[in-house]
Amino acid sequence: MKVTPDIIRCEFIGTEAKVAKSTNPSCVGIRGKVIDETKNTFTILHNGERKMVIKDTSVFHFKFSDGTVVEIDGKLLLGRPEDRLKKRVRRLW
């Protein structure tokens, strides 16, 4: 899978996620499958428990089905899953 800025339009439900950084210390280290997404949060299944993580204040590591790991700032992922399809990003890296 090619890593392009288009990646923010991809589907994150179903991928493996890990919270790398967060302003909320109890959220750091949560890892597991993403089972739901709302405008401002991701729900991650962590050891059989559903954890809700705020996108705005966290940095995530996503592992896609083909094994690529991508680090994405949650700020870029704000927006409902269907609205994110049309989101544009300015150059960031």
């Binding site: 288009d6 991809c10 589907e11 439900i13 179903g14 409902r80 899953p81 269907e82 399809l85 049309k86």
Partner: protein
Amino acid sequence: MDTSIKRIAKQRIHTLFRLAIETCREDPQLAQRYVDVARRVAMAARVRLPTEYRRLVCRRCKSFILPGVSCRVRIKQRREPHVVITCLKCGGYMRIPLRRKSQGE
């Protein structure tokens, strides 16, 4: 630009429906949520849902239906051969004509 959005949307619809089919036995509510997201993605990108997935969504109540679990599929010979898919949640049905040979339903 527009074509890339449509391509991504199609990919997302595929993954969401695959997940919905996988999870619907353990958590039907979550499967319903995935299908809702998939439909909204399709509408936002103005992509038509593929035929095989359109059969999995009730036309009347838009809920996720799976043959043998939440819908009934019957072939009827009356008037004209057709398939009837009855949603067991709302009782609505969709009819699919079997007229054309090439379609091979």
